[in-house]
């Protein structure tokens, strides 16, 4: 019998499957690539550009590239010379950190990884304790591993720190430090107490109105002029504080955006139950506000991660810095492009990872249909 001709009594109509043009590969192509004449043209155009650009890129990156060897003489073909990256990899990763002590950095990485894995497994209990360790215990452990001297290891002074390791140190200190400071500033800016409010506004606007390069220069060059004779603060520490406060100002505005989106009724309901200001903020308002601005927070984190490359100008050899200096090594002149491609890939992996994690977090925290 023809399905279309079939009639049903009211209330007895069954759920029918959608028409074939809406589902499967065919449906997807139709909906996403060929939905209108303009889209058909754009799809074909894009396919042509890919056809033009990709084969040479693949040739350069993979097919004609040199992978074997330890010297520049090994690079004879016209493709990329990945030998350059291979030879300098230890520098790129750890800078001038002594090779006999590199296990300390790797141990710290391993502890971090071990701590992070349970956070991604839904069934694990006691995540709060692990998170507390990662936030408060881990930095202490990491400091003694990196810098040394607690258990009689050799002290590794911060000028020897470098490469991706230094980038990660600056980025994580900036990220972990800027969020709480930013939250406090955002709450301060919305405070009804005039002094707290003006101090917060002044802080935010001053730090936000200055380029990060200026902040780093001031931390590195001007700050020591104001210090009393004989007292010096480590250059890396000054840069860390600079980066942290700089991103905190941005973070404050992101968080404030979230706070403004919370309806007044939420404050009233919390107050009506007798919650005081601190509990109301910590339990009701901030969890919702922060959840709303996860994209903005991660955006700031990603920006901060990439901005760490600016520490090069105050003489700190971060990841990009070591790559640049390797590219100017007389033995290896002419391979800077490989270095930059490699650094772009590494930066992209980290930033994309943060972005994916934030999307995962948004999905996990969604409480409505």
């Amino acid at each position: 019998m023809n399905d279309r001709a079939q009639t049903y009594l009211p209330g007895t109509h069954p759920d029918l499957p959608p028409p074939p043009s809406m589902v499967g590969v065919y449906g997807w192509l139709r909906a996403n690539l060929f939905s209108s004449p303009v889209n058909v043209i754009l799809t074909l155009l894009a396919a042509y550009i890919i056809y033009l650009a990709f084969p040479p890129l693949i040739q350069w990156v993979f097919i004609n590239a040199d992978w074997q060897g330890d010297t520049r003489e090994a690079c004879r073909r016209e493709g990329a010379c990945w030998v350059f990256v291979k030879v300098w990899l230890r520098q790129f990763m750890y800078g001038r950190y002594p090779s006999t002590e590199i296990w300390r950095i790797n141990t710290a990485y391993a502890i971090l990884a071990l701590g992070m894995i349970p956070m991604f497994i839904p069934r694990v209990r006691g995540k709060a304790w692990i998170a507390a360790f990662l936030l408060f215990g881990y930095p202490v452990v990491a400091y003694y591993l990196f810098y040394g001297s607690a258990f009689g290891q050799v002290v590794v002074e911060t000028p020897l720190w470098g490469g991706l390791f230094l980038t990660l140190v600056i980025a994580s200190v900036g990220i972990v430090g800027s969020l709480p400071i930013g939250i406090v500033l955002a709450l301060g800016r919305r405070s009804r107490l005039p002094i707290i409010q003006s101090v917060s506004i002044a802080f935010i606007e001053i730090w936000r109105g200055v380029p990060l390069i200026t902040v780093l220069f001031m931390a590195s060059v001007m700050f020591p002029l104001f210090m009393p004779e004989g007292l010096t603060i480590d250059r890396l520490a000054r840069a860390l504080v600079g980066v942290m406060l700089f991103s905190a100002a941005y973070m404050a505005e992101v968080v404030r955006g979230g706070l403004q989106a919370i309806p007044k009724g939420q404050y009233e309901a919390a107050q009506a139950l007798g919650l005081n200001y601190g509990k109301m903020m910590a339990l009701i308002i901030l969890p919702q506000a922060l959840k709303l601005v996860i994209p903005g927070i991660v955006n700031t984190f990603i920006g901060l991660f990439k901005d760490t490359t600016l520490v090069l100008i105050i003489g700190l050899m971060d990841f990009l810095g070591t790559i640049q200096s390797a590219g100017t090594n007389p033995q290896w002149l002419g391979f800077a492009i490989e270095g930059y491609v490699f650094s772009a890939l590494v930066f992209w992996v980290f930033c994309f990872g943060m972005s994916r994690y934030s999307q995962h977090l948004e999905r996990k925290l969604r409480t409505t249909h």
Partner: protein, 265 residues
């Protein structure tokens, strides 16, 4: 000038409720302004323990503002408000003390969307009353059964219907064991078929002896449950009476007009 009317009105009210020894809420000569706008004008109201009062009046008449003054969601500028023997002043400690004892239900429910129903209910007992979590959750389940939705305990507010959300909101307020419950137009944001389930819960609550102040336009509810109906207009209490008299023999012209408008259909 104002002093005189205040005292006069005060004596009138206290004689009306036979002494104020068992007063749960007492408002004496309360005035409030929003900027230049005089929202509450010389409000004198005493609510006895166990009394159920329905407040009605046209929109903008100050009825919501009045009950929101009782738990200090709104600040009054002159006069006295005493709740269960504690006078509301700028002292935060006292305000929090009063809020612990006064439950409130809002027009738009104001549940916490990031917490499950059970977490919504247990939050204040755990963090304000320092009840152990297990105990708080057990008592929360008891109240959910009382509002007839124990099966929704693990859901988030966004997954419930309006009527269910409002019943959760009532249960959330009850979890603090309040001495007074304030309802600010609890059914105004609901679809018609959900109003009854919320009113049923409120009627049951009234029969249990709870002191209640209800701002509502549900005149059926007022007739069956209220001890007293208060009519407000332009920031003043125009008339108060027991519901039978109030609906059949309204004294003031404004009350008559209001009743004719809402009872017409």
């Amino acid at each position: 000038m104002r002093e005189g009317t205040m005292v006069e009105a005060g004596t009138k009210v206290s004689s009306a409720i036979r002494g104020s020894g068992d007063a749960m809420v007492r408002m004496d000569g309360v005035h409030k302004w929003y900027g230049q706008f005089h929202v509450l004008k010389d409000i004198n109201l005493t609510v006895a323990k166990g009394e159920r009062i329905v407040v009605c009046g046209p929109s903008g008449s100050g009825k919501s503002t009045m009950i929101r003054c009782i738990n200090r969601l709104e600040e009054h500028q002159s006069g006295h408000i005493v709740v269960d023997g504690v006078e509301l002043t700028n002292d935060l400690k006292r305000i929090e003390e009063v809020r612990r004892e006064v439950g409130m239900v809002f027009q738009h429910f104001n549940l916490f969307p990031h917490l499950t129903v059970l977490e919504n209910l247990a939050l204040a007992p755990v963090w304000v009353r320092q009840t152990p979590r297990k105990e708080a959750e057990e008592s929360a389940m008891k109240y959910l059964e009382r509002v007839r939705i124990p099966e929704q305990a693990k859901k988030y507010p966004g997954q419930l219907s309006g009527g269910q959300q409002q019943r959760v909101a009532i249960a959330r307020a009850l979890c603090m064991n309040p001495k007074v419950m304030l309802f600010d137009e609890p059914t105004s944001a609901l679809d018609p078929e959900m109003i009854k389930e919320v009113l049923d819960v409120m009627v049951e609550l009234a029969h249990s002896g709870m002191t209640m102040l209800v701002v509502t336009h549900e005149m059926g509810f007022a007739k069956t449950v209220a001890n007293r109906v208060i009519f407000m207009d332009r920031g003043e209490i125009i008339e108060e009476n027991e519901p039978g008299e109030f609906f059949t023999h309204p004294r003031s012209e404004r009350t008559k007009l209001f009743l004719s408008q809402i009872l017409a259909h």
